[in-house]
Amino acid sequence: MNSLRKTRLRAAWDEACQVAERLAARSRPSPPPPLPRAAWDEVDRWGERLQLARRRGWPVAAQHAAARLAAARRTLVDQLAFVSGDELPALQGPPPCEILRDLAALRDDDGEVVLDGDELVVVTPPIELDAFALGPFQIRLDLAAVGPALPLRIVAVDPRPAWSNAGVTHPHVSDEGLCAGAGLVPLQQALAAGRLLDAFTIVARILATYNAGSAYVALDDWEGIRCDDCAALAVPGETTCCEACFADVCDECATSCAPCGDGLCGRCATTCRSCAATFCPACGGACAACAHPCCEACCDDDRRCPTCRAEARASNEERNADPDDGSAESDSVETAHAPPAADPRTTPAGPPVRP
């Protein structure tokens, strides 16, 4: 055996012994996993939107909110399972020769394996999910940590976080914490047994798999938000949240309510037939007589638009005219020869009122 090979083997053996020592000396408890507050808030938010959409009779908005609520619930359940796991069995320390073999196999697979203080670090190849390049990740295993939480940090080497949350560098990684999902139990078993090759392989496969139904941020929303009106991808800062149905729309599609100033999507914005102002569902509705859209400012106390109000006034004046009064007769003759007012119910001049 030449001296260079001997030197390398000695270095590898020393490294394996250091890893074994750290595994055997585990005493520092790992920090408890954070409670899934963001996931909880997300379920709350979409639940409220669904309730609102149902109350207002908006089937499309309700369908969208229901789908997002279902996805948010799945994420919350998975994350709750992660934080409520049983205490892990005491981690066993494998002998240095087994660690040496695991480290050699990891280097054969991934190339870069480093012992950095108490952390064993394996760098994955560049990760690509659905043609989305996320770059390589460091899988950092704290050899000295014990406890139910995974003693892992996932650090993006070349971060490309989601635009909505800088801490989400991968659909299943938030603030360097991995949500292991289906890989949690086998990963815990591998760590408990000191099977480092298996543990790092499981983590690498999780990072290489995209679960669209249970991601912190979906890849579709990674670089922006899809406009709910036109489906175009809107860049950060150029979207509006509709205050009526909570849909996200691009600035091209967004409008606002003239009376109250709330942002609106295309489905919730209505144009007043009388004054042409845009209004939200809370600032207007339909004329009680002709059913055409009318804002609060144009409606009278009986919820009639100006056109219907004028017609009603004209009808009243006709009825009130005294048939025995000559002036009234001449008025009535003039009225009789006047062209009939157009019936707005048969000749609508504007779009029908939206629910």
Binding site: F82, C179, G183, Q189, D198, T201, I202, R205
Partner: protein, 72 residues
């Protein structure tokens, strides 16, 4: 003859199995993952990728890890 079998799918257990002499990797896979497709797994023998027709010997360490593991 005894081997160590590690199934990193589902419960992730590691167990000692008795197999018949001459058992291949493919035959062991069919016994342990009935209906499964080998292409859906990383199959290693003694930490190295293994061919389907590799014959196992006593003391081999065989591991199965799904290629797709869904995070949450």
């Amino acid at each position: 003859m005894p081997i160590l079998f590690i199934n990193n799918d589902g419960a992730g257990f590691a167990d000692r199995l008795e197999i018949a002499a001459g058992t291949t990797v493919a035959a062991l896979f069919r016994q342990q993952v009935p209906g499964g497709r080998p292409s859906d797994y990383l199959i290693r023998v003694n930490r190295q990728p293994a061919a389907a027709d590799q014959v196992l010997v006593a003391g081999d360490r065989v591991s199965l890890t799904p290629t797709k593991i869904e995070g949450a």
